[in-house]
Amino acid sequence: MNTYLTQMWAIIWKDLILEIRSRERIAAMGAFAVLAGVLFNFSIDTTTTRPQDVAAGLIWMTLVFGGLLGVGRTFHLESQDGALQGVLMSPAPKDAVFLAKTAANFALLYAVSLLVLGVFGLFFGVGPGQNLGWVVLVLGVGSLGFVALGTLFAAVSTGTSMGETLLPVLVFPLLVPMVIYGAGATTWLMNGRPFVEVEGNVRMLGAFALAAVAAGAVLFRYVVED
């Protein structure tokens, strides 16, 4: 068990160091999040639509699209120069590789989702108010489910000739529960409703995330084997 965690940590650390030094994905996702906020601002007539009614939905859509941008490239750099073979040939079991990749992606996407929350608060003057802690939790649980499915299917799409263009087709239908429960809970919380009213949603979101992580950990080995 201890070796397992050490192996996982080695891969997480490698991915995070790579990201901190290159800032390739985090910069693209962060810029996307801010610019999406700008475009949403011009696409909505705030004299007829109250921003707080649509903000939660926009936050989640930004998270999905921005997340796909970054998560889709999880294996891009490594597959380019054959480094992925090295990672896969290391003594770490395949599920440890998957969990580590998912964890690194999670750190990335969670950071972006908090940025999105801040950007929308700034641009639209809407915020979770006293429910800040709960909204941050919901975003975290949702991000986990997203990166688990995203990482698994990023490995699939990297291996196809269509590449990242295939990713939305595969992932969007599967993400519907995450968007429904996540955006639903966020809307209620941002409108000042107490957490108990959305607890069921958050539980389902958590179950979805756990199922996605477990499915990915089991199935990842079949995707990357050669």
């Binding site: 499915l149 295939l166 199935l219």
Partner: protein, 229 residues
């Protein structure tokens, strides 16, 4: 079973299914009593619901075969999954065609985000994703593995999608057959519906066997071409 035997079995089931389909249409149009509230339009129910059940049967079957394929690596299991997904795509398309036709008259709109209709639409996209993944790899073995993963994750996600879209909104008629306190459908309607389910299952398995035999022949031909080359 031999390939030829499977083709014969498939043909027999399809012919039986088509004859059953004629009988089902006769029952749906002439025999069964007209529903009080919706009138004649409700008769599309006897095609719509069996097609929906069959498409969900298909994804379950395909996911099972895919899981077994990843475990045993027998190409026959992969072919079974492929043929089940093809059949599922056909029946899901049928649901998505009959649903809006019914909906336009019953609800006054072609499309609503009604849970079961939404679920079928997403299932349809999962089926399409299966083919896109399968056909976009250079190495066919890789395509088989990827497609199997799509089928398994898709089938696993269906309960979640189901629960979430129900939570989101429900306009659809309540379930009338699979309920804890027994079916509430009048006898003749239930009989017609169950007969429809039987007919569609026959058609599905007939088409499935037929397609499976064809895929087997294709694999054989590929093997022969490779041994000649």
């Amino acid at each position: 079973m031999s390939t030829a035997g499977m083709r014969r079995g498939g043909t027999a089931l399809v012919v039986l299914g088509l004859l059953g389909l004629i009988a089902l249409y006769w029952m749906a149009f002439f025999w069964v009593s007209t529903e009080v509230n919706q009138g004649v339009v409700q008769r599309i129910f006897y095609v719509h619901v069996p097609a929906a059940w069959t498409s969900f049967l298909a994804i379950g079957f395909a996911a099972l075969a895919s899981g077994m394929y990843l475990w045993l690596r027998d190409d026959r299991l992969d072919r079974a999954a492929l043929c089940a997904i093809e059949g599922g795509l056909v029946f899901a398309t049928l649901v998505l065609t009959t649903g809006p036709l019914w909906g336009k008259i019953a609800w006054g709109t072609y499309w609503t985000w009604e849970p079961r209709l939404t679920l079928t639409l997403l299932l349809w996209f999962i089926f399409v994703g299966y083919f896109m993944v399968r056909n976009s790899t250079e190495d066919p073995e890789k395509g088989k593995r990827f497609a199997a993963v799509v089928a398994i994750v898709g089938a696993m996600d269906i309960p979640f999608i189901h629960l979430s879209v129900i939570w989101f909104r429900s306009l659809h008629p309540e379930p009338v057959v699979a309920k804890p306190d027994g079916p509430t459908l009048p006898g003749d309607m239930l009989a017609t519906l169950l007969f429809g389910v039987l007919v569609f299952s026959l058609l599905f398995f007939g088409l499935f066997l037929f397609r499976y035999a064809v895929e087997g022949l294709r694999a054989e031909a590929d093997l022969r071409a490779r041994s000649v080359a």
